[in-house]
Amino acid sequence: MSLRTILLKDHWREQQVFTGRLLLAGIITFVLTLFLVARLFFLQVVNYDYFQELSHGNRVRIEAVPPTRGLIFDRNGVLLAENLPAYQLELIPEQVGDPEETVRALVAQGLLKNDDFAAIMQQIAKRRHFDPVAVRYRLSDEEVARFAVQRPHFPGVDIRARLARHYPVGPLAVHAVGYVGAIDQSDLRRIDGKSYSGTTHIGKIGVERAFEDRLHGKVGHQQVVVNAQGRSLQTIEGIHPSPGNDVFLTLDTRLQKAAELALDGHRGAAVAIDPRDGGILALASAPAYDPNLFGEGFTRRQFNELSSDSDEPLFNRALGGHYSPGSTIKPILALAALHYSIRNQYDELLCPGYYTLPGDDHRYRDWKKEGHGEVNLISAIEQSCDVYFYDLAIELGIDRIHQFMSLFGFGNATGIDILGEKPGLMPSRDWKRRSFSERAEQVWFPGETVISGIGQGFMLATPLQLAHATSILAARGKRFQPRLISAIRDPMTSELVMNPPVELEPVPVTNPEYWKTIIDGMVDVVHGEHGTAIGAGLGLDYRMAGKTGTVQIFSIGQEDEYDAEEVQERLRHHAMFIAFAPLEQPELAVAVIIENAGSGAAAAAPAARAIFDAWFAGRDEAVIATSNTSQSQ
């Protein structure tokens, strides 16, 4: 009985609590609804006039204001990329009745090209319908006048003056600076569309691409009063965009000019690095092209012409060109031999003009058919004796070669601060096993070690890697990561943030005698009696260390004579030269590669000499200019 009472009582109480709660919920519901109504009253009655004005008659459109792109300077403050005013034709999809029809009408007016029709429609489809789409960049004065007359027939289409990217030095340093181009599908995938509303161009390659986030700046916006056709009448208010940061490169324009001039008319690349901090002073790849073309929105045909040119001007050979390094690696192999104590500088070898492996009668030829006679380590570098290095390579073995060359950056990307770098290839037994599927091909043959001694075979390096390795030789083992950016400046505060050199683990060859020995060999290449590049050293008032390389890209039979005239131009040897100077306090390390130009001594060494001449001729001025900039900071 009592239990039942409790249950009943609880049941009653339960109901009581529940009803109370329902009542409370009902009251809360009612109060919240009243609160909503009060909000609506506030919007629709109290602020009616304000919203009425915004909505009726004149209408407010929110428009993105693109930021001003940061400038690019060289190390001495020479302007490499700037922004100039230009007229562009814009279309706001939501305000033109039928975008397709409008674009066709603009084509009929000669303001757009029929070739670009599909691309323009794609742009329109990709953008938000209330954002303006630039359908044509850089109208001429005549075209601006022509459109002005037709304007009433094109609601939602307008001409706007905007800043367009301009490269005052034209094709100079284009492979380092890069260029901006119209934002395309693939760009839209990697950027935040919102922060690019209003921006029409984006960095495509080089510094422009790699430092896009710093150069671009922050988008601003303004409220614009527009009339019924969507034509801007008046700007009310907004937030200003913040301009992008200015970027200072390590490049030296004068040196860059000299490098490009030296390569003029050839296919090739030249890279100059300051061995004291890894700063890249010149980065040239020939042929080059004018980056201003991309900003102007040139036609598909023009672009096809450029991209299908058999000389590949768009290809950055300095970073992406894979070349056999040839004899240029001989000094490093000599250093390896000293380091592993398999040679000393006095060991002599008789060079008969060919080399054979025991138990094999295949003859590995020397470039000098009659041979070099008695050579030691220094004279083998000086004369670039192939037989000496065939023998040395066999004794080192491919695994030690792989290990030692890797210390100089071969086989790995250098980590330069722009994109497009290839890693090269430094073969090893292990690499061959991994890379080939056929069992017979996975074996490493001794003959492959032999030709590694002269930088031929599987080994591949980029001009940047060669310059990097040369700078390590110049600094006697000190390594810096190559870099193009020296500083970044915020134009609002003028605050300059330096990009400090990145020092890497040094090459663990600590005996200074070893370095001196191989560098002596390199000095003899330029200044010695039998040097392969004595022409490059004539009339120098300082001493230079160098090494030539001539890379055979066309196999010649064992007994055939090589005749450059008869071999097609594209099959001629690549010419190479690496060098650094001055010997005592190296300031400049250079690597030059000229494709199909014949011997390194004849073609590449003079090009490198021209670069050194430019550096030392203007050195005093450069020093003054640099110290001026640092004072102004």
């Binding site: 609880d10 339960e14 609590v17 529940f18 009803t19 109370g20 709660r21 329902l22 919920a25 009902g26 519901t29 009612f30 919240l32 609804t33 909503l36 109504v37 909000r39 609506l40 009253f41 919007l43 629709q44 009655v45 602020n47 009616y48 304000y50 919203f51 009425q52 915004l54 909505s55 009726h56 209408r59 929110i62 993105a64 939501e94 319908h129 919102k194 509303s197 988008v219 916006h221 409220q223």
Partner: protein, 378 residues
């Protein structure tokens, strides 16, 4: 016998036939009428918001037709059977949510859909009804007001599906599911002290939630706090929506005459922001009228809840009605700039809405509770 006679007597009145048909079908007349009125008003606004697209209105009518069918079918299920099935329905919904996580279809960057080959649906929709069912089933067996143990159990029942849906990520639906569970324990009589503790706990969870949110969800909250910071992106919605409502004034610009909507300044005008179209074209009066019908529906639901015969039915009916209010309030609050932009449609009015079927099925449950009350109480 007397009872039967009186029924015969009522049948002879003009409305008697309708009343009898409604009773036969276990339907509640006033509630059904109000739902149909709201949906009709919705079609009217949709016609204007879609730029006078009759095709869209027809599609919406078809969807409403299917939803009414769902309501009628669910209304035939007696509450005691629902109670028996509650745990199984909840478990199934939970399994389906796990299914979505593993093999769901991705739409608009979120994984919400489950494709079983013959049918494609959002399990989170099923969960919207399953959770209040389950919570009511559990609390029905407990002594009320719920003690700490019951609260912990219900909290787990609520948190698991909420987190699963939130991870899809569908913040709007997750919040609604959490709200429906919270409402059940609230009306079950959780003490005000416990409510205060839970509110504090919930607030302290906010930073954790913040770190779990996706970037776009965070942006929405930030934009809500200050829409002017992002007038080109998410803030654009709120700014344009406020202009639409505000410029409607007391009487509105007239049907099909809202410039904000017709000139496409207002984004999402057929779906999440349709309430702003109503405000622009029918003014404060139109909005108050629609809100009043919503309040009537909720009041009717609360009445049904108060008259229900057992704890299970009471809690369930109360939760369904109040969750419906949360829907209305979140959407209206978002459109008028009181709340952040979360993707919650205006119930029965917004276009599309796979949620319409769920909503109407919920009202089917309410009607079943209402019409089974007398028969079983005698």
């Amino acid at each position: 016998m007397i009872f039967a006679e009186s029924e015969d007597f009522r049948d002879k009145r003009p409305l008697g036939i309708v009343a009898r048909a409604l009773r036969r079908l276990h339907l509640d007349g006033p509630l059904l009428l109000a739902l149909i009125v709201v949906a009709s008003v919705g079609m009217l606004i949709l016609y204007s918001a879609s730029g006078q697209d009759l095709g869209i209105v027809l599609k919406q009518s078809l969807r409403f037709g299917i939803s009414v069918l769902a309501l009628v079918l669910v209304a035939q299920i007696p509450p005691h059977f629902l109670r028996l099935m509650a745990p199984w329905i909840y478990l199934t919904a939970l399994l389906l949510l796990f299914g979505v996580m593993i093999g769901g279809d991705v739409g608009k960057g979120a994984q919400r859909w489950l494709d079983l080959g013959f049918i494609r649906f959002q399990p989170s929709e099923i969960m919207k009804l399953s959770l209040p069912l389950m919570a009511a089933w559990y609390l029905h067996q407990q002594q009320l007001p719920p003690g700490p143990k019951s609260l912990v159990v219900v909290a787990v029942l609520v948190l698991v599906p909420t987190v699963l849906v939130g991870m899809q990520p569908d913040l709007g639906t997750a919040l609604l599911i959490a709200a429906s569970g919270f409402i059940v324990i609230l009306i079950a009589g959780m003490s005000f002290k416990m409510i205060a503790i839970m509110v504090v706990l919930g607030l302290s969870m906010a930073p954790v939630l913040w770190t779990l949110m996706k970037d776009y969800q965070r942006n929405r909250v930030l934009t809500f706090l200050n829409p002017e910071t992002d007038p080109l992106g998410a803030g654009y919605h709120i700014i344009q929506s406020k202009i639409a409502i505000g410029s409607g004034g007391v009487f509105g610009k007239g049907w099909n005459n809202g410039t904000q909507a017709q000139l496409e300044f207002l984004p999402e005008r057929s779906t999440d922001f349709i309430f702003a179209v109503l405000g622009e074209e029918f003014g404060l009066i139109g909005m108050v009228v629609l809100l009043s019908i919503y309040v009537f529906i909720i009041a009717r639901g609360l009445l049904i809840s108060a008259q229900a015969r057992n704890t299970f039915s009471r809690l369930l009916a109360g939760a369904i009605s109040l969750t419906f209010f949360v829907y209305v309030f979140v959407n209206a609050g978002m459109v008028s700039g009181l709340l952040p932009v979360v993707g919650v449609p205006l119930p029965l009015v917004s276009y599309g809405g796979t949620s319409m079927v769920t909503l109407m099925a919920g009202f089917g449950i309410l009607m079943s509770i209402q019409t089974n009350r007398k028969l079983l109480s005698t």
